[in-house]
């Protein structure tokens, strides 16, 4: 009995091994540039936790990451693949910046919630289209959501170079939004803003929907066995649209966080990896909201430390992508090991049962 709980602790820690192995592998890449990886990582984490500003920045960076992680993870629970978080994020950002610029005279107490709702609605609508294609035409949601990213990028590029371009007309970006539309800092002087708490609330919401409502039960049933769910009278086509709308709503909310919380404007092509990072975070967090929050914080720390590392040394910023990629790869490998361990356990307990009988 005791031994078994020992093993489950080992299993629960497996994401940590994956992260460790992923960092070791990226450390090997640093050797190519003749950098000591141990020193580099010491520097990276040293920077990330150096002072209150940087620690606060981890939370600021984690905020949109948690949301795009939720976007992939939520759909993944229904075995649906929402690869379109990047585009949904841009749609949310466009909606937020549009309202903030056009309704700038409104007081913050009205403007902020409006921007937030608009970003969620814009993201959800863009994503619901993918769900609709899936349910109406039985189209492959992986491909459609993937392609919807490129369409969203084109729309954003068009807007920031045309109708929404800054008044100066110099760069492909919008004007700065009025201060009443900025999300306030939680700790003055840092970028740690209220949005992080909203992201936590979003994670809680995802958990409640999935595990505490009948809708969530249906979503997970569709995810586990589509034909069984259909047989049980669950309208899977409706579930497809709902799941995509909710999932994309999270990604859209990330747009609000970045525009109103950090950038205070919309810059062409900003945060181009947020969508794929979200996938990595969701996988690392086992598509569970709590796991996603923790993985989001880890990726946030890697980004804060990684950015400073690449600014102060000759290590290029692409090392951050390499770290994320290797970590993901080792997470996938750890699934294999986990399944092996669980299978061996079952076999052993079966064999024991036979002996006793």
């Amino acid at each position: 009995m005791n031994k078994r709980s020992d093993q489950s602790i080992w299993l629960a820690l497996s994401p940590l091994y994956s992260v460790g192995l992923g960092l070791i592998a990226s450390g090997l890449m640093m050797l190519l540039l003749k950098h000591n990886p141990i020193e580099a990582f010491a520097q990276l984490f040293g920077y990330a936790f150096r002072d209150i500003y940087n620690i606060a920045d981890i939370f600021a960076k984690a905020t949109p990451l948690i949301l795009t992680g939720l976007a992939f993870g939520f759909a993944f629970r229904a075995t649906l693949f929402n690869i379109g978080a990047q585009g949904q994020f841009y749609m949310g950002a466009i909606a937020a910046v549009f309202l903030a610029l056009k309704l700038g005279s409104l007081p913050a107490i009205l403007l902020l919630p409006l921007c937030m709702i608009a970003s969620v609605v814009a993201g959800a609508a863009w994503g619901a289209l993918v769900g609709l294609c899936k349910s109406k035409f039985n189209a492959n949601e992986f491909l459609i959501s993937m392609m919807s990213n490129y369409v969203a990028i084109a729309i954003m590029n068009f807007l920031v170079r045309g109708p929404l371009k800054e008044a100066k007309g110099e760069y492909p970006q919008t004007d700065v939004i009025p201060e009443s539309a900025w999300i306030r800092s939680l700790i003055p002087g840092t970028r740690f803003h209220w949005g992080f708490l909203v992201a936590l609330a979003a994670a809680l919401l995802a958990y409640v929907i999935l595990w505490r409502t009948s809708l969530g039960f249906k979503i997970r049933a569709v995810g586990m066995n589509r034909s069984a769910a259909r047989y049980a009278g669950i309208d899977e086509k409706r579930i497809f649209v709902i799941v995509f709308a909710i999932s994309a709503g999270f990604a859209g909310l990330a747009g609000f966080m970045e525009v109103n919380g950090i950038q205070h404007m919309l810059v062409q092509g900003f945060n181009p990896m947020l969508g794929s990072e979200g996938i990595g975070i969701a996988i690392l967090g086992n598509a569970h909201p709590l796991g996603i929050v923790l993985s989001g914080l880890l990726f946030g720390a890697l980004k804060v430390g990684g950015n400073l590392l690449t600014q102060t040394t000759t290590i290029p910023s692409s090392i951050i992508g390499i770290m994320e990629g290797f970590v993901m790869l080792f997470v996938v490998l750890s699934y294999f090991v986990q399944n092996k361990v669980i299978l061996a356990q079952r076999k052993r307990s079966l064999a024991k049962g036979e002996e006793e009988a």
């Binding site: 294609c133 170079r161 990629g325 996938v332 699934y335």
Partner: protein
């Protein structure tokens, strides 16, 4: 007339990597495995093609290196998905992110931060005697580089191999009924593994087309989802090389029409939106496509029964 020739020539150019990638995907998916690392392999192929050509001053070694890095990524993908039977989409996404990081990183390792982008001469056009003199069509069809000819030849050859040879039969049966293939004494895992490697080599070549086929340089956004379009063409073409040929040509034509409109100065639609044409076309085609002939065990890892 000149315009039509230019349009067709460009269409064939644009469709070349899509044809190679789609054909690779047709073969691997016929064995029941989706090569979801395709976008990353395209990118690494573009990187390998450029680096090989730049360092050796010889485009041939560029193409070889492109295939080699393609196979390297393919081997990792095949090991995880075929051998360890892990999730294909998730593994593919991980490798794509990794490829994006590694290609840019290694470019930097090799070349530092050049002030002006490094370039190589791209693959030369090889006019085919007599045929290239045919008015209008000649210069478009018969004055292309070696990869374009290769792609056009490989499509019918691929069809013949897939449907008329024993090898093709094994490939098709592996995806349709792996148990039967296993019972016939053919190693399912090995067939799938080799198919992933072969498709990755071809994907690497396709990627190299973007760097040394016509641009003569490498950048991190050089592929920009074209690998996924090739992936889509495979299934829009119903897992058939001839279908993939038609799909690839349509996409090439759409792409070159969009470029023509962008450069013509006629502003019906903003240029930023014209860039989205191939992606929108993929969405429409994915929705419109109805009758599918999906390999029965596509994406389902084959686990051998043990008694």
């Amino acid at each position: 007339m000149m315009m039509i020739t230019g349009l067709l020539a460009r269409a064939l150019q644009m469709s070349t990597p899509l044809l190679l990638g789609a054909l690779a995907e047709v073969f691997v998916e016929r064995t029941g495995v989706m090569n979801m690392a395709i976008e990353g392999i395209f990118l690494m192929g573009a990187w390998g093609g450029f680096v090989g050509a730049y360092l050796t001053k010889n485009l041939f070694w560029g193409l070889m290196l492109a295939m080699a890095v393609g196979v390297a990524i393919g081997a990792v993908y095949a090991y995880i998905t075929v051998r360890l039977k892990q999730h294909q989409i998730v593994t593919g996404v991980a490798l794509n992110i990794l490829s994006a990081g590694i290609s840019v990183y290694l470019y930097r390792v090799l070349f530092g931060v050049p002030i002006i982008p490094l370039t190589v001469d791209s693959l030369r056009r090889i006019p085919i005697p007599l045929l290239s003199r045919i008015p209008i069509l000649g210069p478009a069809l018969f004055n292309q580089n070696i990869l374009t000819y290769l792609a056009l030849v490989l499509m019918p050859v691929g069809y013949w191999v897939l449907f008329k040879t024993r090898l093709g039969l094994v490939v098709r049966s592996t995806g349709a009924n792996p148990e039967a293939v296993d019972a016939a004494g053919i190693n399912v895992e090995r067939t799938q593994f080799l198919a992933v490697l072969a498709s990755s080599a071809l994907d690497g070549l396709a990627g190299a087309f973007y760097s040394i086929g016509f641009l003569g340089m490498f950048s991190d956004d050089i592929i920009g989802g074209r690998g996924w379009i090739a992936f889509a063409i495979c299934f829009l073409g119903n897992w058939n090389p001839i279908g993939a040929l038609v799909g690839g040509l349509v996409f090439g034509l759409a792409d070159s029409l969009a470029v023509l409109l962008q450069t013509s100065g006629i502003r019906i639609v903003p240029n930023e939106l014209l860039i989205a044409v191939p992606y929108i076309l993929t969405i429409i085609a994915t929705i419109a496509r109805k009758q599918f002939n999906v390999p029965a065990c596509l994406g389902v890892p084959y686990v051998k029964e043990r008694s």
